[in-house]
């Protein structure tokens, strides 16, 4: 409290204010029920949101990872096939008998 608040006129005014204007009773049950419903909604929605986001993120990672892996595997297969073809070609074109 400041020095101003201790002024006798202010004390009298404070008394007058308190006696002159009472506050109606708070609708406690409604306010508490609404507040707790909002609290429940928030605490329930957080794990759901986390689960959904987690599932989406996991799907994305798996999808992209799988695609990249498939692409690299395919490229590798093509390279291997090309190598095998080249080798076969080489074998066919080489005069093995004369070499042996």
């Amino acid at each position: 409290m400041s020095i101003l608040d201790h002024h006798p006129l202010n004390k009298a005014l404070a008394k007058v204010l308190v006696h002159g204007s009472p506050v109606p009773e708070m609708p406690a049950a409604r306010i508490e029920a609404a507040a707790m419903a909002a609290f429940s909604a928030q605490t329930a929605s957080r794990p759901d949101w986390v689960k959904t986001f987690g599932a989406l993120a996991a799907s994305l990672v798996l999808g992209v990872g799988g695609f990249v892996y498939y692409q690299s595997w395919q490229t590798e297969q093509k390279a291997l096939a090309a190598d095998a073809d080249a080798f076969a070609e080489q074998l066919l074109s080489t005069d093995l008998d004369s070499a042996l």
Partner: protein
């Protein structure tokens, strides 16, 4: 320079409620809602709107709970600030917000016939006098006189300095004294009777 840590008696409940503890949240609502209701009713003078504001302030509390930093501010001060701002927003939207510089200078109504007023008439006089104050002056009066907050806390709630709070209070009290001057004798008598009762 960092601010010193602020002791908050509700910090324990805040921490528990932040972890999803329903009992702590219910205890928090019981602890803070009566004051929020009183502040919003006194600023808005409308029970339905005061109920909405009290609920909205609590919903905003739930939203900040997960990131609430203990020791930075008292949760009650934060709630008072939110409540006051919500009330000001509603008054502005309804075109009922009166700024200090828009308010007419209070006039001394002069001596009135010495008539004894009934309690309800006195109440109406005080309500009317309070309602006639610019909104920030009314908020300063409500927070100081009714909710007994220190000037520093009122300053935090209204986002102004302690000197500015003192200035708002001085102007508000002057305006109230002038507005209530004709009923002064009845009001003082009523307050004495109220104390005796």
């Amino acid at each position: 320079m960092s601010n010193p840590l602020i002791f908050d008696p509700l910090a324990g409940l805040i921490a528990k409620a932040g972890r999803g503890d329903r009992a702590a949240a219910a205890a928090l609502v019981k602890a803070v809602s009566p004051k929020l209701w009183r502040i919003s009713w006194r600023l808005l003078r409308d029970a339905a709107e005061a109920e909405d504001v009290t609920q909205e302030a609590l919903i905003r509390l739930w939203k900040v709970l997960p990131t609430w930093q203990a020791g930075r501010a008292k949760v009650e001060t934060w709630l008072h600030q939110v409540t006051t701002n919500l009330c000001f927003d509603r008054l502005r939207k309804a075109g009922r917000f009166v700024d200090e510089d828009q308010a007419p200078e209070p006039l001394d109504p002069g001596p009135m016939p010495d008539s004894r007023l009934h309690q309800s008439a006195l109440r109406d006089c005080v309500d009317a006098a309070l309602a006639s104050l610019p909104d920030r002056q009314r908020a300063a009066i409500v927070l100081t006189h009714y909710e007994e907050l220190a000037a520093k806390e009122v300053g935090e709630v209204l986002g102004i300095s302690v000197d500015a709070v003192e200035s708002l209070l001085a102007r508000g009290r002057r305006a109230l004294r002038l507005a209530l001057a004709p009923e002064k004798a009845d009001l003082l008598q009523a307050s004495v009777e109220g104390h005796a009762a």
